[in-house]
């Protein structure tokens, strides 16, 4: 949720929403612990929105066999992060999208492996979504 560090830029252009599938109690004890999220965190336990937006489950090999995953966890440990127990489904992939004021997708980046886009890329897409519709 690194994008939260850029709240001002987001608010200048629109808003953000987060979609999760874990139960709220698990979220409050892990991902959201000590974190203030000024945007809606939508709970999709049935993953209907995940499916509708084309977000599948990855394979064990594509997720846990990816050296980038291990590198990321290692670097977080080195920085002092506390590893949390994995959620109920570590294979569910996420994705990042930007939608313009007219409801058209202007940025689409479903995950295929552990490869979230840089935050700057998302913010740039959000900024373009409002400048091109004027």
């Amino acid at each position: 949720m690194k994008v939260l560090h850029h709240r001002q830029r987001i608010d200048q252009r629109g808003t953000a929403l987060f979609v999760v599938f874990d139960p709220p109690e698990r979220l409050r004890d892990s991902l959201l612990r000590g974190l203030e999220v000024p945007y809606p965190v939508l709970v999709d336990r049935e993953r209907s929105a995940y499916r509708a937006w084309g977000l599948a489950r990855g394979s064990v090999l594509s997720i846990w066999g990816d050296p980038h995953v291990w590198l990321r966890y290692t670097s977080e440990l080195v920085r002092g992060a506390r590893l949390r127990p994995p959620g109920a489904d570590t294979l569910q992939l996420g994705g990042d999208f930007v939608v313009d004021p007219g409801g058209t997708v202007v940025y689409s980046r479903p995950q295929r492996r552990d490869d979230r886009p840089p935050v700057a890329e998302l913010l740039h897409a959000l900024e373009r979504a409002t400048t091109t519709t004027r």
Partner: protein, 45 residues
């Protein structure tokens, strides 16, 4: 397995109707008129 492929740039956003952590309902149509970033997270761990 996903039902569909992800919407591509230029396509209409897929409708959604979900409840947030505070119990409020948010639908795609509620966001008409403003741009938004939609982030689907992976597991909470």
């Amino acid at each position: 397995m996903a039902d569909t492929t992800a919407p591509a740039v230029g396509e209409r956003a897929c409708p959604f109707d979900l409840v947030d952590l505070d119990g409020g309902r948010v639908r795609l149509d509620d966001l008409r008129g403003q741009a938004f970033l939609l982030v689907f997270l992976r597991h909470a761990g």
